[in-house]
């Protein structure tokens, strides 16, 4: 029994990390632009399929294929920002409508990916082999360590960035009081750009490291954006750390539902959790009242 619980905890951690990363990206872009960027999941999808192309098919070593995939993710993110989000916002479109339009962005990239890579799920080999490692009775594969490692890295990076760099602090200020930021001469446009780059990195990495454990393919984008959004809502839609926490919570509930109740109801619990949080504490666990 103890092994089961530990196993589920392990999968909570790994799944939750992915959701947390997605949530983190969503929160960052939401705070600076007030737009809910549905293309967040597209970053994960692009990361995954790029790894398939570069690492799996072309055999390019990790050291090169990971950065290259990330570059593509960043390019797509910035393209969306410059071509869609900023022009619409400049025209005075309400941020809700702009958010809806970004759904279209993700659908278009989904189509492109499907045209290039086909409809079948794509397999990406694990980065360091498949020999399971047993810790305290729970079984991990090396890929899980990659996932946890990158998540921890980004957690650290987020903390360092927002608490330790001026740009991070400026972005916090921008989310806090946009008028004051503007009047103080903050380079608002550039800050938007950096937040979208950050979101692309975080989303891309999520897709890259999780591709070997679950198949990747053209249509992984929207569902994972949704999970990311739920994670952000649960943990605190205004708080980057809340986002990561939310991811872990969602991962936890999903794993335990799948393990102890039924894997078919896994998604159900996530949405019920969402509805509960929205009802009882709309700003999320760590969010500030808005």
């Amino acid at each position: 029994m103890r092994e089961f619980i530990l196993q589920f905890l392990a999968s909570s951690l790994t799944e939750g990390s992915i959701y947390g990363l997605m949530a983190l990206g969503l929160v960052i872009t939401l705070r600076s632009t007030e737009v809910l960027f549905f293309g967040q999941g597209t970053m994960a999808m692009v990361g995954g399929v790029m790894m398939y192309a570069l690492f799996a098919k072309a055999g390019i070593p990790l050291v090169i294929s990971i950065p290259c995939s990330l570059v593509v993710c960043i390019a797509i993110s910035l393209l969306s920002l410059r071509v869609i989000v900023l022009p619409l916002l400049a025209r005075g479109a309400p941020s809700l409508n702009v958010s809806m339009v970004t759904i279209g962005v993700s659908m278009i990239f989904e189509m492109l990916a499907m045209m290039i890579f086909g409809k079948d799920p794509l397999a990406v080999p694990s980065f360091s082999g498949d020999n399971p490692v047993t810790i305290l009775g729970a079984s991990f594969v090396p890929q899980h360590f990659w996932i946890l490692g990158f998540t921890a890295f980004f957690l650290l990076l987020t903390l360092v960035f927002f608490k330790g760099t001026w740009m991070g602090k400026a972005m916090t200020g921008l989310g806090d009081n946009p008028l004051l930021a503007k009047a103080s001469g903050f380079p608002v446009s550039r800050l938007f750009t950096y937040s979208f780059v950050f979101a692309a990195l975080v989303g891309g990495i999520a897709g890259i490291v999780s591709a070997p454990t679950s198949y990747t393919g053209y249509n992984v984008g929207l569902p994972i954006t949704l999970k990311g959004f739920i994670a952000a809502s649960v943990g605190g839609i205004t708080n980057p750390l809340g986002a990561l926490l939310g991811g872990l919570i969602i991962g936890f509930f999903e794993s335990f539902t799948a393990g102890f109740i039924s894997s078919r109801l896994k998604d159900l619990i996530t949405f019920v959790l969402l509805l509960l949080v929205l009802r009882l504490r709309p700003q999320g666990l760590l969010g500030s009242g808005h």
Binding site: W166, G173, N177, L180, G185
Partner: protein, 236 residues
């Protein structure tokens, strides 16, 4: 002449708040802009600092055209705008708020020491979150932020609003010291006519988007016209 404004008209959408405003400021002088609410005082500052684009008119700063330029350029020129309402970044510390006052420009720590000289209470609270400061302290922080990089012209929007009289006096004492030390040019928008005219060299009374009166501050203080515009005795 540091600042020259000619024929400035500005507003929001179809609402024209400022109509054909012209005035100028010499280096080192303090001009107080007073008048009833809705007169366009805040809009004047907003159109100078890049938050609102003027519909027509010309603004010249240090001899160069500064009409309708964006906020980033305005700050770089050395114009600092203190918004109405004691605005600070609540979730950042006092020190961070100050340092970000020079964000993108010279961010050496030397400036902050200078600022703390004039606002010792901010030094005491440097690591506290700005959101936890009292109203008066927030106002000081808001002003102190503009001092963090070479400030030539200070735009102050109703610094006394919402502050108790004693705090207001303290604040203006500090402003007098700063003005003397740095030769600051100050464009002060205020509802409280007495405080403003006592502090300034010249005054300008704005009502319904136009300049009704202007002149020497001490003369304006005695002028019955000012009282009339404010309290509306007789007809407008």
């Amino acid at each position: 002449m540091l600042l020259s404004v000619r024929g400035l008209s500005a507003g929001y959408g179809s609402l024209m708040v400022l109509r054909d405003i012209s005035f100028s400021m010499e280096r080192g002088e303090t001009l107080a802009v007073i008048g009833p609410n809705g007169a366009g005082k805040t809009t004047l500052l907003w159109s100078l600092s890049g938050l609102v684009k003027p519909k027509s008119g010309e603004v010249t700063f240090e001899g160069k055209d500064a009409t309708g330029i964006d906020c980033m350029k305005v700050v770089r020129l050395g114009i600092g705008h203190v918004l109405e309402g004691m605005r600070v970044f609540s979730s950042l510390s006092v020190e961070d708020n100050l340092m970000l006052g020079a964000y993108g420009r010279d961010m050496s720590k030397g400036n902050i020491q200078e600022v703390f000289k004039y606002f010792p209470v901010l030094e005491q609270r440097r690591r506290q979150l700005a959101g936890s400061l009292s109203g008066g302290e927030k106002q000081m922080l808001a002003i102190a932020r503009t001092l963090m990089s070479s400030l030539k012209l200070l735009l102050l929007d109703e610094p006394s609003a919402g502050l108790a009289p004693l705090l207001v006096k303290r604040l203006f004492d500090i402003l007098k010291k700063l003005r003397q030390e740095y030769g600051l040019t100050i464009l002060l928008v205020e509802q409280n006519a007495e405080i403003a005219l006592e502090f300034a060299d010249r005054g300008m009374v704005l009502a319904q988007g136009q300049i009704m009166l202007e002149g020497d501050a001490s003369a304006l203080m005695k002028d019955k016209e000012v009282k009339r515009i404010y309290l509306g005795e007789g007809t407008v």
